[in-house]
């Protein structure tokens, strides 16, 4: 069964198996994702517990990276699992369970992001803090940043992206999904995914250099050193 599960996971997909003790969930833990969804469709609520145990990690990660807020990510994933239960009959067995689940979470997170834009707090304090951090480091600024600081920068710069660009960049670049999977999740052609990805990278690079010139300086210094 485990082998089946691994075969279903296309190359580049993140590992979705949560490392909880297996003895705590003796039956459902042996089922693959497709079997769990089939059980859900048969009305077996216990299968949802296993799905939550298995998928919470990567889904929370995705929602967190879209929203930049852990509490909101938890809310979104909670509602997503409820949607999965409510709409379980709509799952089309021809598609990947992961794609379907990621799509629900991605859409909910984007909706949430959209709804909170009007009450978004200013990012200026974050930027000032990061500038102070950068001043103390100068060269190698990016290399020295901690994960939380990188997340804060991303949250700020990602505001420049369209919703699709943001989703595509996160799913493809950070979560490691294939272009085909991203296309199914976001609801567009693969070629469009590539365009979104290209544009997202371009926008992020530009914003990074404009808003964090201290980083640009380190970049230039490094380039000069390499050229020499």
């Amino acid at each position: 069964m485990q082998d089946d599960e691994e075969q279903e996971t296309p190359t580049g997909m993140p590992e979705l198996v949560y490392s909880a003790p297996r003895e705590a969930r003796p039956v459902w833990a042996e089922k693959n994702d497709r079997e769990l969804l089939a059980a859900l469709q048969a009305g077996q609520e216990a299968a949802l517990d296993e799905l939550i145990t298995r998928k919470s990690g990567p889904l929370l990660q995705l929602a967190y990276r879209i929203l930049g807020d852990r509490e909101e990510a938890r809310d979104v994933v909670q509602v997503a699992f409820f949607r999965i239960w409510e709409h379980r009959a709509r799952f089309d067995d021809r598609f990947s369970p992961n794609t379907w689940i990621y799509r629900i979470v991605n859409n909910l997170a984007i909706d949430h992001l959209r709804s909170r834009q009007s009450r978004e707090r200013s990012v200026e304090p974050v930027r000032q803090h990061l500038r102070q951090v950068a001043d103390g480091r100068s060269h190698g600024f990016l290399a020295g940043l901690q994960g939380g600081e990188v997340m804060a920068i991303f949250k700020e710069l990602a505001a420049e992206l369209t919703e699709k660009q943001r989703s595509v960049f996160l799913l493809r670049e950070l979560e490691g999904l294939s272009s085909q999977e991203v296309a199914e999740i976001v609801g567009c052609q693969e070629s469009t995914v590539r365009n979104h990805l290209f544009n997202a990278r371009r926008v992020l690079r530009k914003a990074l250099v404009e808003r964090y010139p201290e980083y640009a300086g380190a970049f230039a210094g490094l380039g000069a050193k390499e050229d020499a």
Partner: protein
Amino acid sequence: MSHRPSRCPDWRTLAATRDERDDLHGDAWFAALDHLDGGCRACRDAAYAADPTLVFRRAAAYEPTAAEVTDLAASVRAMIRAGRVEELPASDFDHLTRTEEPVAAPAPIAELVVRPRRVLGWRVASLAAGLVALLVATAPVDHEPAPTTVAASAPAVAYGTEFVGALLTAGSSTGDPVEIETLDRPTANVYQFDDPGMDVVLIVDAGLDV
């Protein structure tokens, strides 16, 4: 499967190639990413110089604890239960909200509040009604128990020690009921929570789809 190469990749060439080609799945690129994620300090700056957005691979991860996952599962189950309550026919729904049982009914109230489909509408309706009631209830009058008078049209049931009639007369100098709103709504429920120094009265109308 690990793609990790034995020596540092040529980041500049890789990044340029990736931007030019349609194929985003090249093994060399994934091998280089594995190399970077593995923490190689020798080529890290070169990688960021070639593509600054690579730094976002280091964005903080969210790895939930087992307790968080358990809480999440419990919350989802609560939402599912609440959804089932919502789907019950009116006659079945009544026994959850209109029994004469003593105060032992916080659970149905909680389930009513956690209604995922119209959770915002419920919250707004409840909050608005509650605030109006609270304003009247805390009006500067003496707090001698007022005679309990219930508006004839109100089919409300209270889950507290006092009924809303006290509230309805509290703000009136004449002792006549103060009509907040005509409660000729068969689906309206009134909940009262007593607390020293503060009374909270909640009027919940399932038919008021805000």
